[in-house]
Amino acid sequence: MAESSLHLLYFAWLRERVGLGAEDVAVPPGVATVADLIAWLRRRGPGYEAAFGTTAPVRCAVNQEFATPDAAIAAGDEIAFFPPVTGG
């Protein structure tokens, strides 16, 4: 199987730790869920490890809908990572 291209977004302190707000990545076929993607991202460098390797809660949206770690992901998806929301 070919690699999947994903559009990733990072917000708030996840953006600051990763060091960028958006990127396109190509992930190997085994990365099939949000949890898989997080595990794969953590191996990409210390910024990712600082963002995803903490006990602080991280939330996710797939194609602009809140998603849980077991949510499936597919090529072309827009996947965003961010802390619990604090608007209002």
Binding site: Q64, A80, G87
Partner: protein, 155 residues
């Protein structure tokens, strides 16, 4: 039917009330909630508050929240305006308006709208303190509890 806006500009409450009610004579009550920036957090003085959001998803989330309110109550109008970017203590962060023929619908809807907005719309607050440090605001358990009392998304 709902008016949804995310903006850098200051929120003009009177203008949004006027827009909601213009030419309408069936409205008996408008309930509103205005959220403002306080100058203290955890005992420290705040000099600025910066709101980050997720363009695209924000508008979708606000529209979904407004649609849910319109399903649950008999509303004649509904407005959600949220500011983003930097703002000073005393400024308005968020405006919620709900209009109805009888007040109970508007009152309950406005409480619901702000409770859900605080837990389901992708905004993040960063506080700038007088000593030059900055901190992302942690989500409040109280907000989750407030939102939970309205139950789950319907339909």
């Amino acid at each position: 039917m709902a008016t949804i806006r995310v903006q850098h500009e200051a929120i003009d409450v009177a203008a949004d009330i006027a827009a909601l009610t213009a030419g309408r004579f069936d409205i008996g009550g408008i309930a509103s909630f205005i959220g403002t920036v306080r100058d203290m957090a955890k005992g420290r003085r705040i000099t600025a508050m910066t709101l980050e959001h997720y363009p695209g998803m924000t508008e979708r989330a606000l529209a979904a929240i407004a649609a849910e309110a319109e399903r649950r109550w008999r509303l004649l109008g509904c407005t959600l305006v949220h500011r983003v970017g930097p703002m000073a203590p005393g400024e308005t962060i968020v405006l919620v308006l709900a209009a109805s023929a009888h007040r109970q619908d508007a009152l309950e809807a406005s409480a619901f709208l702000i409770d859900w907005l605080k837990t389901r719309a992708p905004f993040w607050k960063k506080e700038s303190f007088a000593d030059g440090t900055e901190e992302w605001v942690d989500a409040r358990e109280a907000d989750d509890l407030a939102a939970a009392r309205w139950g789950a998304l319907s339909g």
